[in-house]
Amino acid sequence: MKGHDSSDLARERDASVHVTGLLTSAFTAISHKAHARGNECNINFKMQFMLLFSRQGKLRLQKWYVPLSDVQKKKISREVIQMVLARKPKMCSFLEWRDLKIVYKRYASLYFCCAVEDQENELITLEIIHRYVELLDKYFGSVCELDIIFNFEKAYYILDEFILGGEAQETSKKNVLKAIEQADMLQEEAETPRSVLEEIGLT
């Protein structure tokens, strides 16, 4: 869990672009099409892994729902990132890779990329990606790549509340955010009194 070193970060800052502007334009298109009803329910779908990476190919977030060794993970993500980055903007968001389907979507400088099983519904997967971006957006308030870099643990928490073991567990944005907020609160509550006690204990 090491952070990035400073020069790295500086570069990132330059590169990062606000995702939100795109949120409104690019996304609404899908979400309209993808589903009209069924906002507050469960998505079902078997995801193998989810990667977030920048246009430069820097991995920002990875979540694996299949246990793999680090070496394998690295190899796969390198391969997938390469493939996705090679795609041109006008191309469709689906790739067949090994026996999986890669579904990706670009939001500003960030690529969101999921690998799902062959039989899965690609549109639903796109929808999930979009949901996740919306969640990030709500939580951080107009999210940008830097938010994810600096608060990666939050991004993971949100993802965990949203997807469990490769299945989307909660599609209601409200519920997810509520759970996160409460957990955050619990965290803060737990932190403040304890630290005071500790100080007392120390002195």
Partner: protein
């Protein structure tokens, strides 16, 4: 993490996980979920921590633990925590229930034995009041069912109901996908589905749902296969909708539309063909993946009429295409399209040859060999085209420098291989053989790959023969002599080749030519003799030909194990020697062997001898020998095989004219074919169909090569395995499928029921022995098991088939009589009610699966039935089964009964009585979640059975699970469950409820349905047995009226009902045994005529004792 290796920190992560602060815990679990994998050894340290967090009062602790667990579940964790997670599935907070349900799927994958015990509860969650939990349950069950649909067929009615009633797209998509998996197993389901699905397609505005529906409709229609007329409407609808998708500007939709379209294409090509325009349009798309999809579609859309047009279009694209991969793809597609089903759609082969020639202009393609083989194939099969083809090839050879030009990669120059061969083989069609000969002997040729040079040399000799033939009659022998001279001048270039093949052929031919030249100078006529070297016609060989070679008389195939038939033939015949040679250079077996004959006579002689004397030589390569020997078997005069040809396409030319030609030729060739066959063939051919390949294979006796044999047999092997009901695959499949496997196996398992957790495996073994022969020892038994494995597999597959049939029947009933729980009749007996009625498939065997806490046990279980099975014949089993049913519980030979039972399962899954039996077996289930249900109360409306379980988490509480079964034809609702508390035992009521308020049962019961509710009691003293009086009130609602009813009952809390199973570990157990206190034989019971260990087992079951006791019997 973040690209850094953090494996060193694994232990620290565990430390952070166990911090009591939520902040740290959260971080710790996050880190663990990111870094841990199955190989991480510290995972085993986390078990207790996770268990603690799971039972934490703080829902977020639990949530965090569940989330983390989902990422690094290992089989060990799954086994140890399965029970805890199962408990969480009934947690009060939907937040936790939801997560627990979802994570259960992961647990199933890692620890399949947990599926049976957990399934009833999982099913129950389908009706959870919280929509989130409900859809989580749908998710998990759908996911399970998709992997192993046949075990879940019984749930179809339930899901059907959900599908028609749900408005939740996410759930709908999952259910629809599930149905797509179920329909192949149950075609009737498909028929039933079509209507609601088409309705959805019409009504939905959600593209993802639409897409899913279309996909499933397609799957359904495929499974209905027969393509019933009344479904053409739904196909039309799908195609229309897909068209809309494809026309959409969104690339994603376009892609998916094309993808789905290609599925329709397989079964309903006509309906897709009408959209040719649209698909051709997609070829111009910017996105390569869309173009590729469109290409796939084109394959199925061609007809005789439009083939040329489509190919022309594709050729345009070939010219435009930028990336080589896409261009190669185009090239292969063009060839695929043209050559499909024996060139069915090609009406003009000259056109096709020119297309192929055009394709050779592609630079840097990898598919030169493909074009080459097409050229060869067409030239050989289509006699009429040979003249044209030869002319084209001659031009190609002439311009060879264009092809080989800058690309050293052997890509396109493969074409020269074909060109040279065709020119040589059919040189009689050449207008100017001299010129071609000259072209083939250019110095530049030496830069070509070796195998191509070899063909050049060989065919130069053929051309030479032709030239001689042509000019010999003439008085002026100038030309012939010039030709000889040319060869003698140029061939030395090849003699120096680094490639042995080329060298050998060249030096052979050069000697030949020198000799001929001498003769020429003496004015001897040699042309005929030289031509004779290359006489004879090559025919395509059908892939099945080898099989059809009749066994020569007097040859006994079975006589020698190691002596293949062709070998024995080959030994006494000349061709053998050729074969040996040919084996080394299979590509040119025919001509060059003959040419070499002279040169290599001596060597061959030696080799022949060797072979004759050395049996091993022959054995080592029987198949290759076969290939070449067979021709020598007198059936075919001169013909030998050109390997490259038959490899590609079996069968014959399609257009009628060629067919006729072929037929003539063939008739010449084969003397020994049966006339019946011929007639059939002709008839077929008369119809102008492509069906030739089948008949031809019979006609053409020419042997096939090794490769063909292989390809032939592959499909045959594959087919039976498919028929086997997956069984052969089961053991090998990944975890997902293992999951199902327990289900199937467990079907057999009920036997094991009373074995409680820990030591069951020895116990089981013992049990097995006890029936057939008490004296058998474990080890011997294991061996036996292994031997029988195969047998078992076979049996199992049979049984599964039967079972499947049964399923279908059940299914049928269900489908007709509205979605109702399948097994209502199940609960008719008192003791024997499985928690929820409908899961007939799973319930009976779940017990068995539960107690297996170790993998070994699980393995030994399936074997058990087998051991005894062989002893009774099936029919007797059947009878016994019935008798036993009547005898009710008193059976003494549990063992046999179990077997029957298990059999029974397979034979009649739906039967009410069976399920009762299963139930009884289940009673004995050791694990808390599945334990014995006994009758609580019953009237004409409702029956209640209950079971009391201790609570692992809180020892002051017990959980009473009550199954309510609606026995009436009416709807039961507003059920209230109330108990008069005693001092010792109190019913736990929600906050704010008075001590005398009843608890509302959280569900309603449609007729015939049963469901389970759990009530928690707090207990002061566990040494006091209790009887609590209680009442159930409910409203019976029938069509006309509704009445209020009530039912009184008494809850018996015996002391043993408070006991909690705790494993007794092996060391403690061993001590017990050492002490000598445990001895079954030392005990004598009067008036009990069942074996001691059965009695003991019974006691243990009904009173929650652990299995350690029971297992003692075995020692």
């Amino acid at each position: 993490m973040l690209g850094y290796d953090v494996s060193w920190a694994a232990f620290n992560i565990v430390e952070v996980m166990s911090s009591s602060k939520f902040t740290y815990k959260r971080i710790g679990y996050l880190a663990a979920s990111q870094c841990f994998h199955e190989g991480t050894d510290v995972i085993m340290l986390t078990t207790n921590q996770i268990r603690k967090d799971l039972s934490s009062p703080n829902q977020y602790d639990t949530g965090v633990a569940l989330t983390g667990l989902s990422c690094f579940v290992t089989p060990d964790l799954a086994r140890d925590l399965a029970n805890d997670i199962m408990t969480l599935m009934s947690h009060t907070k939907p937040y936790i229930r939801k997560k627990a349900v979802l994570i259960m799927y992961k647990v199933f994958l890692k620890y399949p034995e947990s599926l049976r015990p957990a399934f009833p509860r999982l099913k129950e969650k389908l009706e959870d009041p919280d929509p989130g939990v409900q859809s989580a349950a749908v998710n998990v069950i759908c996911e399970l069912a998709r992997r192993n649909p046949k075990n879940y067929l019984s749930l179809a009615p339930l899901f059907f109901k959900l599908m028609t009633s749900s408005t939740n797209n996410w759930v709908l998509i999952k259910i629809i996908k599930l149905f797509g998996a179920l329909t192949p197993l149950e075609p009737r389901l498909g028929k039933k589905l079509i209507e609601p699905l088409t309705n959805l397609i019409h009504s939905t505005s959600a593209m993802s749902l639409l897409y899913e529906c279309v996909n499933t409709v397609i799957a359904v229609l495929i499974s209905l296969s027969s393509g019933m007329p009344n479904h053409s409407a739904s196909i039309q609808l799908c195609v229309q909708k897909l068209r809309i998708l494809i026309e959409d500007s969104d690339q994603n939709l376009k892609y998916l539309g094309l993808l789905a379209m290609s599925k329709i294409l397989k079964t309903h090509p006509k309906s897709v063909q009408s959209h040719k325009d649209l698909i051709l349009q997609c070829l111009d798309d910017k996105d390569e993946s869309i173009r590729l999809r469109a290409l796939d579609l084109l394959y199925g859309m061609v007809s005789k009429k439009n083939l040329m047009e489509i190919v022309k279009k594709l050729m345009l694209h070939v010219d435009k295409a930028e990336g080589t991969t896409y261009r190669d793809e185009l090239l292969t597609k063009i060839i695929d399209i043209c050559s499909q089903s024996n060139y069915q759609y090609i009406t003009n082969f000259e056109w096709y040859i020119s297309i192929l020639v055009e394709l050779t202009r592609l630079e840097g393609t990898r598919h030169g060999h493909l074009i080459a083989s097409q050229m060869l194939d067409v030239a050989i099969r289509v006699k009429a085209i040979r003249g044209f083809a030869v002319a084209q090839m001659a031009t190609l050879l002439d311009n060879a420098h264009l092809l080989t030009g800058n690309t050293q990669r052997n890509g396109i120059c493969e074409v020269l291989y074909a060109a040279a061969w065709i020119c040589g083989e059919f040189s009689e069609h050449l207008e100017d053989p001299m010129q071609t000969l000259e072209a083939m002997l250019r110095p530049k040729v030496a830069t070509l790959p070796g195998h191509i040079q070899a063909v050049y040399v060989q065919n130069a000799a053929k051309l030479f023969a032709t030239v001689l033939q042509k000019h010999e009659g003439e008085t002026d022998s100038q030309v012939a002599q010039e030709t000889s001279q040319l060869l003698i001048e140029r061939l030395p270039l090849f003699v120096q080749s680094a490639n042995l093949e080329v060298q050998e052929r060249a030096s052979c031919i050069i000697q030949l030519v020198k000799y001929i030249q001498k003769l020429q100078q003496k004015n001897v006529e040699v042309a005929d003799e030289v031509t004779a070297l290359f006489a004879g016609e090559l025919n395509p060989v059908a892939p099945k030909a080898q099989k059809k070679v009749p066994i020569p008389e007097g040859l006994d195939l079975d006589a020698w194990i190691n002596e293949p038939p062709s070998e024995s033939e080959s030994e006494d015949e000349k061709p053998k020697s050729k074969a040996v040679f040919a084996k080394e250079e299979p590509k040119h077996s025919r001509r060059h062997t003959e040419v070499d004959e002279k040169e290599l006579a001596r060597r061959r002689e030696v080799r022949k001898q060797e072979q004759a004397n050395n049996p091993f030589y022959i054995k080592a390569s029987p198949s290759s020998q076969k290939v070449f020997d067979a021709p020598g078997v007198e059936h075919i005069p001169v013909v030998q095989i050109d390997l490259s040809v038959p490899l590609k396409v079996p069968g014959m030319p399609m257009s009628d004219q060629y067919v006729k030609l072929e037929e003539e030729r063939r008739q010449k060739d084969k003397a020994d074919k049966k006339k019946k066959d011929k007639k059939k063939k002709r008839e077929k051919r008369g119809k102008g169909r492509k069906a030739d390949s089948g008949p031809e294979s019979e006609e053409d006796i020419t042997p096939a090569q090794q490769v063909d044999i292989v390809t032939e047999e592959m499909p045959e092997n594959a087919l039976p395995s498919d028929d086997d009901d997956k069984d052969p695959n089961d053991p090998h499949k990944a975890l997902d499928i293992d999951l199902d496997k327990p289900l199937a196996d467990s079907e057999k398992l009920p036997v094991r029921t009373h074995r409680p957790e820990v030591l069951k495996s020895p116990a089981e073994d013992r049990e097995n022995e006890s029936i057939p022969q008490e004296s058998k020892k474990k080890s011997s038994k294991e061996k036996k098991e292994k031997k029988k494995d195969k047998e078992k597999d076979r049996k199992r597959s049979k049984e599964e088939k039967k079972k499947k049939k049964k399923h279908k029947e059940v299914e049928e009933e269900l489908m007709e009589s509205q979605p109702e729980e399948a097994v209502q009749s199940e609960d008719t007996k008192e003791m024997a009610v499985p928690p929820t009625s409908a899961e007939e498939v799973t319930a009976p065997s779940s017990t068995a699966a539960v107690d297996t806490s170790s993998a070994a046990a699980a393995e030994s279980e399936p074997d058990e039935p087998k051991d005894t099975e062989p002893e009774d014949t099936k029919s007797s089993k059947h009878k016994k089964k019935k008798q036993k049913k009547e005898k009710e519980e008193k059976e003494k030979k549990k063992k046999k009964r179990h077997h029957h039972h298990h059999h029974h399962r397979h034979h009649s899954d739906g039967g009410g009585e069976d399920s009762v039996q299963n139930g009884t077996v289940e009673d004995e289930e050791p694990l808390p979640p599945m334990s014995n249900y006994s009758l609580l109360a019953e009237n004409s409306y409702i029956k209640m059975v209950y079971d009391i379980q201790g609570n692992h988490q809180d020892e002051s509480k017990v959980v009473v699970s009550v199954i309510f079964e609606n026995k009436s034809d009416s709807f039961l609702k507003s059920m209230e469950f109330n108990v008069l508390d005693s001092l010792n035992s109190k019913l736990q009521r929600p906050d704010g409820a008075g001590p005398h308020d009843g608890l509302t049962v959280p569900f309603q019961l449609p007729p015939g349905v049963s469901n389970e509710a759990r009530f928690v009691f707090t207990v002061q003293s566990i040494v006091m047995p209790q009887k609590l009086k209680g009442t159930l009130t409910f409203i019976v609602k029938s069509e006309e009226s509704s009445t209020h009813e009530k039912l009184d009952f008494k809850l018996h809390f015996t002391c043993t009902s408070y006991l909690i199973t705790t494993p007794c570990y092996s060391d403690a157990y061993a001590k017990l045994l050492e002490s000598g206190d445990l001895k079954g034989s030392s005990l004598r019971l009067e008036g009990v005529n069942m074996p001691f260990h059965h009695l003991l087992a019974r006691i243990c079951f009904h009173h929650h004792f652990s299995g350690a006791l029971t297992s003692q019997r075995s020692l």
